[in-house]
């Protein structure tokens, strides 16, 4: 069993060195929010405040996307009245905010994460399950 345990460990260490996953935070229900807890693997790599700021702003953007405001309500009613055919020609409010989020992540990568050898991925590519932070392997160890 000793050999198998070490193989498993090596695989796991390799994954840890390459990626850190920020999981979803469900304390407010099914809304898309991510955990702001600073992962221990990044302690040597970046500032805790900056990380928390990034995740906090992302959470706010997702909250804005899912908010039941007057705009989304109007959009929903219009869609219902037109038998939902309006979505064929119109971009939904959520999609507009997702574009904003993509731009924000790009900006954060350029300004803060890339200089430290890290890369943030857009959670929409992972089905809004996780935010992945890639570590440049040459920096690890």
């Amino acid at each position: 069993m000793a050999e198998t345990h070490s193989l498993q460990d090596m695989r796991q260490q390799a994954s840890i060195a390459a990626k850190v996953f920020i999981q979803r935070d469900y304390t407010n229900g099914t809304m898309c929010q991510f955990q702001t807890k600073f992962p221990s693997e990044l302690e040597t790599r970046m500032d805790k405040q900056q990380f928390e700021e990034t995740v906090r702003i992302l959470n706010n953007l997702y909250a804005e996307a899912e908010k039941l405001g007057s705009q989304s309500f109007f959009e929903g009613c219009l869609a219902c009245l037109t038998a939902y055919t309006v979505f064929i020609c119109m971009e939904t409010h959520y999609e507009k905010v997702l574009k904003k989020i993509a731009k924000y992540i790009q900006e954060q990568n350029d300004k803060i994460y890339a200089p430290r050898g890290l890369l943030l991925t857009d959670p929409i590519e992972r089905g809004l399950r996780v935010i992945t932070i890639f570590e440049d392997r040459s920096f690890s160890r």
Partner: protein
């Protein structure tokens, strides 16, 4: 794995086969594939990924057929009489309702219900690591759950073994479609799709408009027959003049009870922000006596609940059907020494087994120094780490003829095979190749895992 048998491989045939497989693989690699083509769930896609349907489309054709036939008969036989004797608005209202019904039905059937894409291998490994560090030493721990607090309510998140992730709250795995669906309501055979977060509003508008339509047609047909029989004829005569009306009456009569019942039920669910799944399981019913309900997702206000469910923002599809599969996720066509897994048909273990046997034996025949890789008494994992994707790791179980080393390799391989079985299942998922940071390590584990089931039987 059950079908693995040692097969005599003709070495001459081997030199031809990998080349053709390689060129075929290269061809496949050149054509960019869309993600819907490699989607792991049981779904069917149309219009190049724009439309999605469950593989078991159930009775969707029947539903459509019934609606079209009934409405057709109504417009053909009842409307002329009613327009003449009542008002022209009858077919207009009927037309509007039919349009609503058919559009909602098609949108419900062909919309992604909120399928969650499966976790990549890295995420799954990360989650497994987090679970394993909390204690269990067996390979298959009991079903995993995680408890979290939502609005002061304890909610259990279950781990989905198929999708390799903890299911978000209100998410359920549909066994018919083999997908985790967000806010899973139920799998409806009448629409041939799951009803979940993204298409619940369409489903609701479908059943509401269908109730109106069936009630409308029922009422109109009764009026039609009554008006006919009032002009001095008996009902039997009236029916004989318009036999189609009877057909419509029968269809509407039988469907109206179930449709109205379903509409009422779903109106209640919408008002209390529940899903059919939660209602049936009674997830929150124990607390119902106390306040409004123990449902942590409810806003405790009927109007707000309705607005949130029906008029809330439309979430995007998370499965990116029309995106292109990244090129390095496709066939591993490059180095010839690498093991070639049949790219997307590798769902059967037997397939993989035979392929890996061929490759193992091929390398055994071609490799010149495999004897050097059976060191006596050294830990067997070192060749795994040092040699990477080359031929080395496969040698010990298949090539070693010295008994004590075979025994040692057997000791290594047997426990590994269980671990590698999981790996081999991972590697069936094409995403694994992209996500895995150390493909050499995992592929080696795969080779080792596959080989011993066959390798040891003939060597005895």
């Amino acid at each position: 794995m059950k079908n693995c048998e040692y097969q005599q491989i003709d070495p001459r045939a081997l030199s031809v086969a990998p080349l053709s497989a390689q060129s075929h693989a290269e061809e496949k690699a050149r054509r960019p594939r869309r993600k819907w083509e490699v989607f792991p769930g049981k779904n069917r896609f149309f219009c190049d990924g724009r439309l999605i349907l469950a593989r078991q489309s159930g009775v969707l054709p029947l539903t459509l057929g019934l609606i079209v036939v009934t409405c057709g008969l109504f417009f053909a036989f009842d409307c002329p009489f009613l327009v003449e004797h009542l008002t022209v608005f009858i077919p207009v209202i009927g037309g509007v309702l039919v349009v609503f019904v058919v559009t909602s039905l098609l949108r419900t059937s062909f919309t992604d219900p909120g399928i969650l894409p499966r976790a990549t291998a890295d995420e799954a490994a990360d989650i497994e690591r987090q679970i394993d560090t909390s204690g269990s030493s067996t390979y298959r721990p009991p079903p995993r759950t995680k408890e979290i607090l939502i609005n002061q309510q304890v909610v259990k998140l279950k781990y989905c073994f198929t999708c390799k992730m903890f299911r978000p709250p209100r998410t359920s795995h549909c066994s018919l479609c083999d997908n985790c669906v967000e806010c899973f309501d139920h799998h409806c055979p009448w629409v041939g799709n799951c009803v979940g977060k993204r298409n619940y509003r369409f489903f609701y508008s479908f059943i509401i408009s269908l109730s109106f339509l069936t009630s409308f047609i029922f009422g109109c047909v009764i009026t039609h027959i009554t008006l006919r029989s009032q002009a001095g004829k008996s009902i039997v005569q009236a029916i004989q003049e318009s036999p189609a009306s009877v057909v419509e009456l029968v269809i509407c009569f039988f469907s109206i009870w179930s449709i109205l019942g379903l509409s009422g039920f779903h109106t209640y669910l919408v008002a209390s922000n529940l899903t059919t799944n939660e209602d049936i399981k009674g997830s929150w019913s124990s607390k119902r006596g106390a306040e409004d309900s123990g449902n942590p997702y409810s806003h405790n206000n009927i109007i707000i609940n309705c607005c949130v469910t029906l008029c809330g923002p439309m979430p995007p599809s998370l499965i990116d059907r029309r995106g292109f599969v990244p090129p390095d996720e496709a066939v591993p066509a490059a180095p010839a020494s690498e093991m070639e897994l049949p790219p997307f048909t590798a769902k059967s273990d037997a397939n993989m087994c035979h392929q890996s046997t061929k490759d193992v034996l091929e390398r055994m025949l071609n490799s010149s120094d495999f004897h050097g890789l059976c060191p006596a008494g050294t830990p067997k994992t070192t060749p795994l780490v040092q040699e990477g994707p080359a031929s080395a790791p496969a040698e010990p179980p298949a090539g070693c003829s010295r008994p004590h080393e075979r025994g040692a390799a057997a000791r290594l391989c047997r426990p590994l095979s269980k671990h590698s079985r999981r790996d081999s299942l991972h590697s069936i998922n094409p995403a694994f190749r992209l996500a895995s940071p150390s493909p050499s390590l995992s592929r080696s584990a795969l080779i080792l895992g596959d080989a011993p089931n066959m390798g040891f039987v003939p060597l005895r």
